[in-house]
């Protein structure tokens, strides 16, 4: 086998191999849309974060605007602290509210932002005041059961 033929084939092999890696990174993994963008960080305190995980999406009006960067526990207030890293292209008013929602019935949990009406925008390191915790199914069921029981008790007491 000729030397330059071997070189040519190895060149072709390496080129299409790197092309495949690029295809995986750009078309399959979508490298372009994230990671390089500037972000700013905002804290949000929740009474209960349910099954929220680090790197869960932060959405506003259904559009992904950031990710959950970190989850911690505030030992003073006994609350969960979620650090949201939001794309710097998207600015939110200071009275924006954060809710922990679930996509679909059994899907993963994400944080939904609903913009407020304040003139000042959230800045890096600030804290969101208005939050709503995750819905925990067990609490919901026990509330339902208690209210049913209470209704039954009222009905009997009324007689």
């Amino acid at each position: 086998m000729n030397r330059s033929t071997i070189d040519l084939w190895v060149g072709v092999f390496v080129a299409i191999g790197l092309g495949a890696l690029l295809f995986l990174a750009l078309k399959v993994g979508n490298l372009a849309s994230f990671s390089t963008a500037d972000t700013y960080r905002v804290d949000a305190h929740f009474g209960n974060i349910g099954g929220l995980k680090v790197r869960a999406p932060v959405k506003s009006a259904g559009v992904v605007v950031g990710r959950v960067a970190d989850i911690g526990f505030d030992n003073q207030a006994y609350e969960a602290v979620a650090v949201l890293s939001i794309d710097a292209r998207y600015q939110f008013p200071r009275d924006t509210s954060a809710k922990i929602l679930t996509s679909g019935l059994l899907g993963e949990q994400y944080i939904g932002l609903e913009a407020g009406a304040d003139g000042r925008m959230l800045k890096n390191g600030e804290r969101m005041r208005i939050t709503q915790s995750a819905v925990v199914l067990e609490n919901l069921i026990s509330q339902f059961l208690f209210s049913k029981a209470a209704e039954g008790g009222d009905a009997k007491g009324g007689k």
């Binding site: 030397r3 084939w9 790197l18 495949a20 399959v28 849309s33």
Partner: protein, 261 residues
């Protein structure tokens, strides 16, 4: 009873001895890789034999594995009304597991066995000792280029396997069955993470490349210099490296995908 215990002890001792010998061989090989990297043409030749000549089997297998994943995945997913997640299923299973593992197994049987047979035969026909007599280090001149050729080829082959498999899944899912094309790609892009999934897959393929090629060159270099010895060493290469790939894959998966989340 005593004889059985002696046989057991001998098997363990020789196994440990071979493992130690292989590790010393690996260190020696790394220390003498200078020639292979300085005279890069030697390595390029080995990339041709290990990588380019494996292209056909890798591409065709990747395409068929992807097409089968598309058919099977669609069959299961459409029962739950989520056939749009087909892209996610195909891409994640290929990028995380099937790409590196199946490409590694194919690479071991296609290129690893050839490397072992070549080096073993060079040893059996005393080409290696001739080199030593001419003050040429056979590890630097023969073994190291083959090692680096294999190590450089393997990640590229695994990436090609995954890309081809995703294309196969696309062919079956979108073109043949008619899953929505936009949902196929966009759900895939939303679910596949570049660092967690693709980079970990590449790391896996690099590790498998080192393991397979090291086993191949070691078995060839260590083969008894007879026709029987070379054939036995070739078989051992394929068996040992396949087992090594599967065991390493378990360890790497446990390290990569179970923490954090």
């Amino acid at each position: 009873m005593r004889a059985a215990l002696i046989r057991l002890g001998a098997a363990v001792t020789s196994g440990v001895w071979r493992l130690g010998y292989a590790s010393r061989f690996f260190v020696y090989l790394l220390a003498h890789s200078g020639t292979a990297l300085r005279r890069f043409r030697l390595t390029v030749r080995e990339i041709y034999f290990a990588g380019v000549l494996s292209l056909i089997i890798i591409l065709v297998s990747g395409l068929f594995v992807g097409m089968v994943l598309g058919l099977q995945g669609y069959d299961t997913l459409q029962r739950y009304g989520s056939s749009e997640a087909l892209g996610v299923l195909v891409a994640l299973s290929l990028v995380r597991e099937l790409g590196p593992v199946v490409a590694g197994l194919l690479f071991a049987s296609r290129a690893g066995s050839a490397i072992t047979a070549e080096i073993g035969l060079m040893k059996a026909t005393e080409q290696l000792s001739t080199m030593e007599m001419m003050a040429v280090d056979p590890v630097a001149r023969v073994v190291a280029p083959r090692f680096w050729g294999g190590v450089l080829s393997m990640p590229l082959l695994a990436a090609l396997f995954s890309a081809m498999g995703i294309f196969g899944g696309y062919l079956v899912g979108v073109v043949l069955i008619g899953v929505d094309e936009g949902a196929f790609w966009s759900q895939m892009q939303a679910a596949v993470d570049v660092r967690n999934d693709i980079l970990n897959g590449v790391i896996k393929s690099v590790v498998f490349g080192v393991a397979v090629t090291l086993i191949a060159v070691f078995e060839g270099y260590d083969a008894p210099p007879t026709a029987e010895g070379v054939s036995g060493a070739t078989t051992r290469t394929v068996v040992t490296s396949s087992l090594a790939i599967l065991a390493l894959d378990f360890v790497l998966t446990a390290l990569m995908f179970t923490g954090g989340n």
